[in-house]
Symmetry: C2
Subunit: 538 residues, 2 copies
């Protein structure tokens, strides 16, 4: 065996050193474009539309305006499409346009705790990156921030090795009838098709989870689909919150102490965290044995560690949850009804909970039964995170895992080991959070943090019980109906026998028996008529 030693060995380490160098984040994601949701031409179109529409919806929410969005996908030669999304949002100031669209890891959403669709500063620039990678073409951005200001038009590339924007064109243009808003056009490789994993489906589901949205969608077949808003009510405004002490990690705490403007530890804790009054602050510091008057910048590693441990021991109120904007049970079911025809609908919107100091909230709805629902297939699952439909990566998602981890046999559905339940049902799950932990940058699936899957299972069980109650009543009602009709069927024969015995006349006996049936079995009849909610029919 050739074991190289000594000088030769030295050469190896030094040879290796020559090729060691930095990898730009653009390079990294160019190679790993599947992490961003661009692993196939079909998915590329859906991902690009999603990233662009998410940004538009977030922008409109910032402005507190009802969103009007136009999505268009046009064929541009074989296997190439121009994807464009135009909104009526606040627009983007000129200086920021190049970096917002042509630099990965750049944005306003990462640095604040606020429920939003975007959170990473990657999405739309990833679409620009993919367009450039597959067609070499520049992306075109049009934006205006006010009728008093000009409209700016840019053509942008990303300088991949530097992860910086490269401006190919920068000019002012006329934008008729548009006071403010942004339009993005990206040419990319793609493949258009219909079905569960399509752009059409994404747009449809986005309309479900955003009932205040007007969206016009023109697909490559030039079909124009218009989803009108079902409410003029803007969703509850989401508020930015400070981090909660329970979710903070020691390393972050140390960094915060280094960078704070607070002059002492007491005010540091109460200024920079959620739910820390100066009383709570004192309690933490007393428990840690560190003086509240100390300068945060002077804290040693040991003291920081003590404060960190003391935080875990002090009872601190849960973070405020008014920062969350759920869809709501009612609108969730309403949306589901638009999409899925069923005979029974139910929903649950759980109270907010907390994972790693971050508030979140789970909502579940179920549609069940009806003649248009497939009978013996795995149930269909519709997933949303911060009102964004999750189309891909179903099996990797905490939502799916929570469904798999729920025993659906208890709730009237069939289920094989390790599989989704089978039956005529559609499950909808939504998670709203200040920070949704996704399994990849493409934000297609939710990571399985135990606190999150626990809440999901509780929501599914709660909904499952309602479903089961319906199914049981339904089955009972069917059986009751059968008993009643069986009894009715035999009335003439029973009447014959009774006539022989009593001498009474048969028609009268029949009338009597029918009366008994009506009187004595009203509950049974109610059930048999499908009045499962217990109210009698008028």
């Amino acid at each position: 065996m050739p074991k190289k030693q000594g000088d030769e060995n030295k050469i190896i380490a030094e040879e290796l050193a020559k090729s060691q160098r930095e990898i730009s984040v653009s390079q990294f994601f160019e190679r790993n474009r599947h992490l961003l949701g661009f692993d196939s031409p079909i998915k590329a179109l859906a991902t690009a539309v999603k990233e662009m529409v998410d940004n538009s919806l977030d922008a409109c929410e910032e402005m507190n305006i009802l969103p009007e969005i136009i999505v268009q996908i046009k064929e541009a030669g074989e296997g190439r499409y121009v994807v464009s999304v135009e909104d009526n949002g606040p627009g983007i100031v000129k200086e920021q346009i190049p970096r917002v669209f042509a630099k990965l890891l750049y944005g306003s959403k990462f640095h604040r705790f606020k429920q939003g669709r975007g959170q990473q500063g990657i999405g739309v620039s990833a679409s620009v990156l993919y367009g450039q990678l597959t067609t070499g073409k520049a992306s075109k951005i049009t934006s205006r921030i006010s009728p008093k200001k000009p409209t700016h038009y840019y053509e942008l590339h990303i300088d991949i090795t530097k992860n910086e924007p490269e401006i190919l064109l920068d000019k002012e243009i006329e934008w008729t009838n548009k006071d403010h808003g942004t339009k993005v056009e990206i040419e990319m490789e793609g493949k258009y098709q219909k079905g569960r994993l399509s752009v059409d489906e994404y747009v449809k589901q986005t309309a479900i989870s955003n009932p205040h949205l007007n969206i016009t969608y023109i697909n490559p077949l030039k079909e124009k689909l218009h989803f009108k808003r079902v409410t003029d009510q803007l969703p509850k405004e989401t508020k930015e919150i400070k981090p909660h002490p329970y979710g903070i990690e020691l390393g972050v705490l140390i960094r915060m102490m280094k960078n704070t403007d607070s002059r002492n530890l007491r005010s540091f804790l109460s200024n920079e965290f959620s739910r820390v009054s100066s009383g709570v602050s004192d309690e933490i510091l007393t428990k840690a044995g560190v003086s509240p008057e100390m300068k945060p910048k002077d804290i040693t590693h040991q003291d920081a560690d003590k404060i960190f441990k003391a935080i875990q021991q002090v009872k601190i109120m849960s973070p405020p949850t008014d920062c969350l904007s759920p869809i709501g049970e009612e609108l969730l079911i309403k949306g589901l009804k638009k999409e899925v025809e069923a005979e029974f609908y139910t929903g649950v919107s759980r109270s907010p909970a907390v994972y790693r100091g971050t508030p979140f909230q789970v909502e579940v709805a179920i549609a069940y039964g009806g003649k248009n629902m497939p009978q013996d297939e795995l149930v269909r699952v519709i997933r949303f995170a911060n009102k964004v439909p999750l189309i891909y990566q179903q099996s990797a998602c905490a939502i799916t895992k929570s469904i798999l981890g729920t025993d659906w046999k208890n709730y009237g559905l069939q289920q094989s080991k390790g599989a989704l339940p089978t039956g005529s049902a559609v499950l909808v799950v939504h998670i709203a959070s200040v920070w949704v932990p996704f399994t990849s940058e493409s934000k297609e699936a939710i990571a399985s943090y135990p606190d999150i899957t626990k809440e999901m299972k509780l929501a599914l069980q709660e909904c499952g019980r309602k479903l089961n109650a319906y199914i049981r009543k339904n089955v009972r009602a069917k059986e009751a109906k059968e008993r009643v009709s069986l009894f009715e069927k035999y009335i003439p024969e029973v009447a014959d026998a009774l006539a022989d015995l009593t001498g009474e006349k048969k028609p009268e006996l029949i009338a009597k028996l029918q009366k008994i049936l009506k009187k004595g079995l009203p509950a049974l009849m109610a059930e048999a008529n499908g009045e499962t909610d217990g109210k009698a029919k008028e």
Copy 2:
């Protein structure tokens, strides 16, 4: 509805602009540490060990040396552990140590096409990041590149907002009995437990997929496990290859033309790509209608696009596959036998294939039956990528999806809709590639590129057919055995009847019947004795 317009609107875009800024890649992964495999304290230990051992194995392969690795996990207070990994690799030159360990997206492996465990320049610095985040402690690195050189010792932090190393200590130390190698010690939050998702399991499986490895592992319970190498043979050396033209994307092609040193297009294509002779180069350029004498730097976007399209139309030999280093059918089964007791083993090592111009190779092994194998559970799946065990994210993995997409009822196993097959079997799947596409930076699951899942399914089917042949023979053998023993059981009665009919004596008749049974049914007997390979027993 409060629709803000004009000046107020302008303020919103400008307000938003104030908070728009760059996100450092360290910050991004600090927040998204689950993308790096650090989503739970249990997993954190396994991920850190994996990243460190992967690096050690890659380094030893660079040096062409049999790896000797020592892994230790020591408790360091409640919920904290020091993870250390020491190897006998080539070491790292002093100047590179800080960036290799305390800067994300830095390394030598990203920029070349070569089969290796690491490929992103993230793994080990991610472990340093996680240690710092959860304990605030510095990571300790010891490295020596030659007995003639001093041993360097570093204590490092990552400056999170800059993604640059912060050196807390840098000194020379004595390292007795170590000519060259690297030792990394990281203190981190963690939780130790045994089981399928443990460090113990990772180490065990690493020994299976690296039969040339000596690894000593001391777990927090101070149990010392020593896995000895089963072969002194180093695995086939992996070679660096150039990209194949079929896998190149237009954007990358354009960038390569801008950056090349080649003076004309002909030499550019044949120098920088795999399998492009100057003949093929001319064919491409003729088809594209672009002169082979043109300078690559002067190429317009239109011409680049033409060249790109021409590449797809010209027949180019598949990329060389000697760059791949599979485990091999024999060693895969050998490894499996060490881990799993079964009555039948079979394996398949497919020929190399190509996805996006990147060579890869799939290997599958199955262990089946035996009394220690669970009967009615979902089959166990063991996954490897470039010889690294994949412990987590099973359901998100192309391997799992390929198993789900195979109809195991054809191969003698039970299977419910949408679930893994059930039965007493263990499936092992390995993919070796110059670039394995993972679903996240934590490299826990393989992305489902169609070319990859296709190869996996073919390998599974091939293995499945072998399994089925065994099961069918096995079942037939059992049935034959039953028929023989049934016949044997009735011989006395048949003899009684025959004695009555023929007047012959019963003992003689019994002897005759037994002779018939032996003579006339030798094949049946052979089967019944389990000689399923068709050879008769001597």
